[in-house]
């Protein structure tokens, strides 16, 4: 295997309490002064890419679309073991949490980058981002590339013949899929149980500095790929409203099982 691409997304850190400013309408989710990190599923994708690299000596390229600070996200991928990075830099007010950039735009950009890179064997993505939670970028990309795909991977085996055998977790159980080796690249999205991402060790953090990161503005990349900037920046779906979930209502105390059954029937929760 020669080349693996791993798109990584910078999102609000999973442990942060999300705050919504009701006066800001659809853009209510506060991003200012909030801790941001690599999307956990993207971390898993990076880890899988590095493990595959350790077996096959493939080159791992981390890609991120977003503001200036995405270089930190790419550097984390480099410190885990990726070889180089591509940063498609957006203007600071462009939001990646479904407000401005949405999966279709990202998938279109990634398709162009895959072709620009040439010789890509595999694209590994997180199954979804924890801000938009769409789960669409991987499948859309596979569609645009006419690539064999498997989503929600819990195990990936790379065959010597260039094929990929993927165990995927679905609501109905685990299924095993073999991705055809004759069609390249393949697209696989990664689920929680695939691996446990490594910590970037101190020596690797220092080595990451020397690895190459190409930074190119969104405008320049769109132009180079022959896409339409308006198309990319105009979301296909509009966020109408954002609000915090209503606070949990206090429960009702009942005195007996009979009373409990009575209440449940009253509320139409049991027949």
């Amino acid at each position: 295997m020669k080349k693996i691409l791993v798109p990584v997304k910078r999102v609000i850190d999973y442990a942060q309490k999300i705050r919504v400013d009701p006066s800001k309408g659809a853009e209510g989710v506060q991003l200012k002064n909030v801790k941001m990190s690599m999307n956990p599923f993207c971390e898993i994708a990076v880890e899988e890419a590095i493990q595959l690299k350790e077996k096959t000596k493939a080159e791992v390229v981390a890609i991120s679309v977003g503001p200036k600070q995405c270089t930190e996200t790419i550097r984390t991928a480099l410190a885990m073991g990726a070889d180089r990075g591509i940063h498609v830099e957006t203007k600071p007010d462009v939001r990646g949490d479904y407000i401005n950039l949405q999966p279709w735009a990202i998938a279109s950009l990634l398709k162009g980058i895959v072709e620009r890179e040439d010789g890509v064997d595999l694209i590994l993505l997180g199954k979804q981002s924890i801000d938009s939670d769409c789960g669409q970028t991987g499948p859309l990309l596979a569609g645009l590339l006419n690539a064999p795909q498997a989503t929600f991977a819990a195990k990936i085996e790379a065959g010597d013949d260039g094929s990929f055998t993927v165990e995927r977790e679905t609501d109905a159980g685990t299924e095993t899929i073999k991705l055809n080796s004759s069609v390249k690249p393949a697209v696989i999205t990664c689920d929680l149980r695939l691996n446990t991402p490594r910590y970037p060790t101190m020596p690797n953090i220092m080595k990451a500095k020397k690895k190459k990161v190409e930074t190119i503005s969104l405008e320049d990349m769109v132009k180079e790929l022959g896409l339409d900037l308006d198309e990319v920046l105009t979301p296909k779906n509009e966020v109408v409203e954002v609000y915090e979930p209503p606070p949990r209502k206090e429960g009702e105390l009942v005195g007996s099982i009979d009373e409990l059954l009575g209440k449940l029937k009253e509320k139409g929760l049991v027949a």
């Binding site: 002064n33 801790k35 930190e72 550097r75 984390t76 410190a79 490594r198 910590y199 970037p200 060790t201 101190m202 020596p203 690797n204 953090i205 220092m206 990451a208 500095k209």
Partner: protein, 411 residues
């Protein structure tokens, strides 16, 4: 960026991207792997050596044991006081005891060797203590000599026939002196008297676990705090140390070795204090947000609580800025910056104890219980006023240094 730090202070605490990445990595590891075990190992007074070894470079470990050691000998090659501060602050947020063992190993042993040893010694000893296979520390204090360092009685006599020194004596309060409670740790730097002409006729030796005559006198138990860090009395009975390989620096020249290492040791201890204070603050801020009283849904309307929290924050930030301001400019290969090394530890150690104390007070009965963490931090913080230099030793040093201004004013 957080709501509480302006970006200029974020830069002070993380001067480069590497520093930010290091902090992120250690914080993440601490949260996931150190936090869950801290209470238990404190209760049982045992040392989590397998977790400690993950700091080494073996088996995909973090590679932070040899932070300041040269790359060519297995270290990370980053003689950077800021990086040292970051690691100690982040580890101490969850487990100051484990961090103390990390300090004794990475600063008192690894860094000291990195600065004072010759190439042969580095090639021989450095890889094992950087990769996590060997754990050790440094022996200076004795049962009857602590602050009065040069009052030490351990002595090493030169035997010309064997071209080596015969070491005899007892060392006390040695962190990592024992790992399991029975045998000694793997590698130690030991200070002993090798001359009687001057009080400062002290030499620094390397002593290896397993050497004949080297044993554990006792594991010290029932400590107030730092209970998960193993402390021991170590005994040396006619331990033979070859002159060519096991003498570090010059014979009778160990005070230079000491001077070169004391500053970074104090910075590391001050950084531990900052981690303790930060954790205490997080705990009291959260508790006060969730505790109803007198018809109010939280404690923020009560003046005494406001005072505890705000004063703790200001003191913590003052200490943190002093620490990083000082660490960012500290060159580990030189010495002579003692005044601020003493000053930052003197200030931060007392500050951490006070902040932890206020956290217990804000949290009331819960603060008094082990499960709520702050009582352990309070007990751990107390050590920082004693170990690595008592408050009194800092008073002595700082007054002496300020006296030397000799009529000139401060900058």
């Amino acid at each position: 960026d957080t709501i509480t730090t302006t970006s200029s202070l974020t830069k002070l605490f993380n001067p480069t991207d590497d520093h930010a990445a290091l902090r992120e990595m250690v914080r993440s590891f601490t949260e996931r792997e150190i936090e869950p075990q801290a209470l238990e190992y404190n209760r049982s007074e045992t040392f989590n050596s397998s977790l400690f070894r993950k700091f080494g470079s073996h088996n995909g470990g973090l590679g932070i044991l040899g932070l300041t050691a040269p790359e060519e000998f297995g270290g990370t090659g980053l003689p950077d006081a800021t990086a040292v501060s970051i690691v100690h602050e982040e580890l101490s947020y969850s487990d100051p005891a484990l961090c103390l063992s990390y300090l004794a190993h990475s600063i008192l042993l690894v860094n000291n060797l990195a600065v004072n040893a010759n190439d042969e010694q580095l090639a021989r000893f450095m890889p094992g203590i950087c990769d996590g296979t060997k754990i050790g520390g440094m022996c200076m204090s004795e049962p009857n000599a602590g602050t009065d360092v040069l009052g030490m009685k351990s002595n090493a006599v030169y035997d010309a026939d064997r071209d080596g020194f015969i070491l005899n004596g007892t060392k006390m309060w040695i962190t990592n002196g024992t790992i399991t409670g029975k045998e000694t740790g793997d590698l130690f730097l030991v200070y002993a008297r090798t001359g009687t002409e001057k009080r400062s006729d002290i030499t620094q030796f390397v002593v290896e676990g397993g050497m004949e005559g080297f044993s554990v006198g006792q594991k010290i138990t029932d400590k107030l705090g730092m209970r998960a860090s193993p402390t021991a009395e170590l005994v040396f009975e006619n331990v033979f140390l070859p002159a060519k390989t096991h003498v570090v620096g010059d014979v009778n020249g160990a005070t230079l070795c000491m001077m070169r290492n004391l500053e970074i040791e104090r910075v590391a201890l001050a950084a531990m204090a900052i981690g303790i204070a930060r954790r205490s603050l997080d705990e009291m801020i959260a508790y006060a947000s969730n505790r109803p009283a007198f018809g109010k849904s939280n404690l923020y309307g009560f003046g005494q609580i406001q005072k505890h929290i705000s004063e703790s924050y200001a003191e913590y930030m003052a200490g943190k800025c002093y620490l990083y301001g000082m660490a960012n400019g500290l060159d580990l290969s030189t010495y002579g910056n003692g005044l601020d090394a003493d000053g930052v530890k003197l200030y931060c150690a007392q500050m951490a104890k006070n902040v932890a104390d206020r956290a217990i007070q804000v949290m009331g009965g819960y603060g008094y219980c082990g499960e709520y963490t702050v009582e352990r931090l309070w007990r751990d913080a107390k050590l920082l006023e004693i170990g690595g230099g008592t408050n009194e030793s800092h008073h002595k040093n700082m007054a002496r240094d300020l006296h030397k201004l000799d009529g000139n004013k401060l900058e």
